[in-house]
């Protein structure tokens, strides 16, 4: 296609596809343990890293990886303590992260445009070096999530059982936290810190409308992520829209279509087949 005769468009597409595949592979574990919005929080923290990088004239992405990883470790420690005050600690971290980022970017010589690039993504400015970073880290995330799937599934499904199974629960939890931080920072270039959580979570939400098992949900979510990322870049290139927003809106559109179709299909089946007698549970109380 002639749209992709330009190198920067090709790089944008490849970067988006890698992220589209890797983000849901990690996101499914976050959804499973009901931490769907954690990516958003870590994105906020990563922004402080971007600001610090711009201010210190260091690579913003590299400093963001460090900041996001530290933030993810703090969040994981708060989560594993399981205290109710934890959500206040998380709120402090999230809003401290984004406010720190905005302030540091303001103090540096960078323009508002570069803040926007990190907030909402700027795929078309992906350099060859950026693409290498995205590809290497993306493949590493993908391989880790696939190879460790049984163990990560066990930990996210029933953490106490995993502990009694002798699994290295703390190490696996840390791995998920650190992987989330890395995913957020590489995807920052594509969809931006404010939208990255969508690419981790929305394909999983779409897939589980129609799937029955964990493995099939993971495979379907990865396929949907790939489609949304590829399609989003295509839409952005043809209609000249923001790539990050296009990718996310496409993912949400497919969620709506699949959710409506699944609901319609269920209603149709209910209509056709007569209701089986509901399984009787034993009475909880004896009424005299």
């Amino acid at each position: 296609m002639d749209l992709f005769q330009y190198d920067f468009m090709l790089r944008a597409l490849v970067g988006a596809l890698v992220i589209g595949l890797a983000a849901p592979a990690l996101g499914i574990y976050l959804v499973q343990r009901r931490l769907a919005l954690i990516g958003d929080g870590i994105g906020h923290v990563a922004l402080t890293g971007v600001g610090a990088g711009l201010l210190l004239n260091r690579s913003p992405v590299l400093v963001a990886v460090i900041a996001a990883t530290l933030g993810a470790i703090v969040i994981e420690l708060v989560r594993s303590r399981g205290r109710t005050s934890g959500d206040l600690a998380l709120a402090l971290l999230f809003y401290g992260g984004i406010a720190g980022g905005v302030m540091l970017v303001g103090l540096s010589d960078a323009s508002n445009a570069s803040l926007n690039a990190y907030l909402f993504g700027s795929l078309t400015t992906t350099s060859p070096a950026d693409l290498t970073t995205i590809a290497v880290l993306g493949v590493a995330i993908l391989v880790t999530m696939l190879v460790l799937r049984p163990a990560l599934f066990a930990v996210c499904h029933d953490e106490e059982y995993a502990r009694v199974s002798g699994l290295p629960v703390r190490a696996l939890n840390m791995l998920i936290a650190v992987t989330t931080a890395v995913t957020v920072t590489i995807a920052m270039r594509a969809v931006g810190v404010l939208l990255i959580s969508a690419l981790m979570v929305v394909p999983v939400a779409t897939a589980q409308q129609v799937t029955r098992g964990f493995r099939t949900t993971m495979a379907a979510a990865m396929a949907l992520g790939l489609l949304a990322a590829g399609g989003g870049v295509l839409v952005a290139a043809t209609a000249d829209t923001a790539p990050g927003a296009s990718v996310v809106l496409l993912a949400i559109a497919s969620f709506l279509v699949v959710a409506l179709a699944a609901a319609g299909w269920r209603a149709l089946r209910r209509h056709r087949t007569p209701h089986p007698a509901p399984a009787t549970e034993p009475p909880e109380v004896v009424l005299r």
């Binding site: 989560r79 499904h157 199974s165 493995r215 109380v285």
Partner: protein, 253 residues
């Protein structure tokens, strides 16, 4: 005398400074089927959670298969059946996938499942009568069938000791019978069982010894006590809320 499997010596547990168990000592030897009985809030669930290291001891010690619990690493010898599957996540999982995670203690984190693993999962599903439901999402099962799934998960690891937390609470009669059958098979294979129960129901003939926990201490250790008063009426049905013993954190599972 058989080898001791669980040795609890002068154990004490407290949540936030509030004592739940005090000076509890109990030894379970290989081949025994021990039921821990007691009222809600007596500390019976805490007792088995302390055995498994899920709650820390404030005093005393727990020894598993001859090793101090802190240094115990042979978790494949233990199968744990929690009271119920957590609130359940949004992501669907099939019965087969949940039961397969029972093989991890034996297989390790990195090794992919092999034929022995698949056979053990199939055998465990047959033992609890759910072989035909392996591909169904767990969330579509009844409470009793979900409980049987958790028992199959523990059996799939081919453990020597089964630790069960109220396995029959709120479970329909068919599932209670299926469960008793699975446990009978496990005991016949010279397995050891420690289970917490509110009522024994069809498990009663299997129990070799009963321990009654009352106000954080052991009030009785010996044969299964006869039900008293209105508890002994055949149509008596217990009504009790399931309350968490720990405050559940917002981010906990």
């Amino acid at each position: 005398m058989n080898a001791p499997v669980i040795e609890i010596a002068h154990a004490a547990v407290g949540y936030d400074g509030r004592p739940v168990l005090r000076d509890v000592s109990l030894t379970v030897t290989a081949g025994e089927v021990v039921a821990v009985l007691g009222a809600n809030g007596s500390g019976k669930s805490t007792l088995i959670r302390a055995v498994l290291g899920l709650v820390p001891l404030t005093a005393g010690s727990v020894t598993l298969f001859g090793s101090p619990q802190r240094r115990f690493r042979q978790w494949r010898r233990i199968g744990y059946v929690p009271q119920r599957l957590g609130a359940g996540s949004g992501v669907p999982a099939t019965v087969g996938e949940v039961v397969a995670s029972g093989r991890l203690a034996r297989r390790g984190v990195l090794r992919p499942p092999g034929r022995a693993d698949r056979e053990a999962v199939a055998a465990a599903l047959r033992a609890v009568g759910l072989a035909d439901r392996a591909g169904d999402p767990v969330a579509t099962l009844s409470g009793g069938q979900q409980q049987r799934t958790l028992i199959a998960r523990a059996l799939a690891g081919e453990p020597e000791l089964l630790v069960l937390d109220e396995p029959t609470a709120g479970v329909d009669a068919a599932s209670q019978e299926a469960f008793a059958g699975a446990l009978r098979g496990f005991v016949a294979g010279s397995g050891t069982v420690l289970l917490v129960a509110h009522e024994l129901g069809p498990l009663r003939p299997l129990i070799s010894r009963a321990v009654v926990v009352h106000q954080g201490g052991i009030a009785h250790d010996g044969p299964v006590p006869e039900p008293a008063g209105h508890h002994a009426e055949p149509d008596h049905d217990h009504v009790h809320p399931h309350c968490d013993e720990e405050p559940a954190g917002l981010w906990s599972m």
